[in-house]
């Protein structure tokens, strides 16, 4: 039990640091401004776009656009696509932790304008903290790495729960620390429940 507590704890510790450090940015809305790529925007032509693109929506549209994005050498998680019907353009946001790329596709001309913005490490931590999150359920996890992160985030929670339970067991074996431990456990419970009660009622 002691060894499992130690090794599982060591493995998840960098993930716990990612989630804990990003809390400060999320709670205080502190994020450095995104920096546009100094090379400026670039254009790509001859995009492999399917003929029925305008009839597609949601995840189907994202999956259909993936070859065109690969052609444009843009990789990452595709977010909500904006369709500018009058101009027959699609605005596709593509995110990699620490970078946002906006691909504006002119469907008729089969051309795309690509603008990259570097958002930095703090933003990467925040993006990972919130990923995949509860929104856009039908669209999210369209990039393999986001799916892998989803498994890792889940694994972090399960292993953290295991670590806390095994930690409680290991503490309980220490007779000398039992009394103060119980007092602190009770103090934590009282603080949490009184705070939640004050917030909710």
């Amino acid at each position: 039990m002691r060894d499992l507590h130690l090794y599982f704890g060591l493995f998840i510790s960098p993930f716990v640091l990612v989630f804990a450090v990003s809390v400060f940015f999320l709670v205080h809305n502190w994020l450095p401004k995104a920096v546009p790529n100094p090379a400026g925007a670039r254009s790509v032509s001859d995009l492999p776009l399917p003929a029925n693109l305008d009839q597609l929506s949601g995840r189907e549209r994202i999956d259909t656009l993936k070859p065109a994005l690969d052609w444009a050498q843009v990789h990452g998680e595709v977010g909500w696509i904006q369709h500018l019907a009058k101009e027959n353009r699609l605005v596709v946001p593509v995110t990699v932790p620490g970078r946002i790329t906006t691909v504006t596709i002119d469907v008729a001309k089969r051309e795309a304008r690509i603008e990259e913005q570097s958002t930095g490490l703090a933003s990467a931590l925040v993006a990972l903290h919130k990923s995949p999150g509860p929104h856009l359920v039908g669209l999210r996890m369209n990039w393999i790495y986001v799916r892998v992160w989803y498994w890792l985030a889940d694994a972090t929670v399960y292993l953290l729960l295991f670590s806390t339970l095994s930690g409680v067991y290991l503490w309980y074996l220490l007779r000398s620390a039992r009394r103060i431990g119980i007092v602190l456990l009770a103090a934590g419970a009282v603080s949490l429940f009184s705070l939640v009660h004050a917030l909710v009622h």
Binding site: Y7, H28, Y145
Partner: protein
């Protein structure tokens, strides 16, 4: 004099050893006492994080089972002032507590619309200051809704400079989130020291820790270099 110098030299390693022993003991205490104090907070945030990533879990459904009520109430037009002061005055008259959220831009001085929320309860307030009437649309969520909102209840939103924390309890909750995060960081650091004090577990520990850092580093920094 000579004897005393010899004695000092003999004392030095002893006092250093003692200091290390004290550090070790306090580091262990910090690890399990802090862990015990934060235990329920960590469970709350870990479990609600899981709920947020698995919004398809039906057992934790809360939005479809929300309770909605509407009501029209008499009010006194608040004295002239800023939006925040006027919103607070209206909330006091209506007996509503919570974090104020600006949902629309105010174009007409006689119409005032905002949202007051706290975990589990959302009230949309539409005040007609010319008629001295306010329409309240109240949404009450079940316990799953309460715990899920606790995870994200900060009073601020990224990319939204207009909404700021304006309820004292939101600030207290935000400080609590900070404290839990800082506590977790301290626990991780103290665990590294405790592990380092076990020479027979160092090699496997280094491998496991390196695996953790490499896999999390891939996402934090690596992906943007590779793609």
């Amino acid at each position: 004099m000579h004897l005393s110098t010899k004695q000092d030299a003999a004392d030095k390693p002893v006092s250093r050893r003692q200091w290390v022993q004290v550090l070790k003991r306090w580091n262990c205490r910090l690890h399990y006492y802090l862990g015990l104090y934060l235990l329920l907070f960590v469970w709350l945030f870990a479990f609600t994080g899981l709920l947020l990533n698995h919004s398809q879990w039906r057992f934790a459904e809360f939005w479809d089972s929300r309770r909605q009520t509407s009501d029209e109430r008499d009010i006194l037009a608040p004295p002239p002032g800023g939006d925040l002061a006027q919103a607070r005055d209206l909330m006091r008259q209506l007996g509503i507590r919570g974090e104020i959220e600006w949902t629309t831009t105010r174009n007409d001085a006689a119409l005032f619309q905002f949202r007051a929320s706290r975990p589990g309860h959302i009230v949309e307030i539409k005040a007609d200051l010319a008629r001295n009437k306010a329409t309240l649309k109240r949404i009450d969520l079940n316990a799953w809704g309460v715990v899920r909102i606790l995870h994200t209840f900060t009073g601020v939103r990224m990319d939204d400079a207009r909404n700021r924390r304006d309820w004292v309890l939101t600030s207290v909750w935000a400080w609590t989130m900070d404290a839990v995060a800082a506590g977790l960081i301290l626990m991780v650091l103290s665990s590294y020291y405790m592990w380092y004090e076990l020479p027979q577990k160092r090699r496997l520990g280094v491998i496991v820790l390196a695996l953790g850092f490499l896999s999390s580093g891939l996402f934090c920094v690596g992906l943007r270099c590779f793609y």
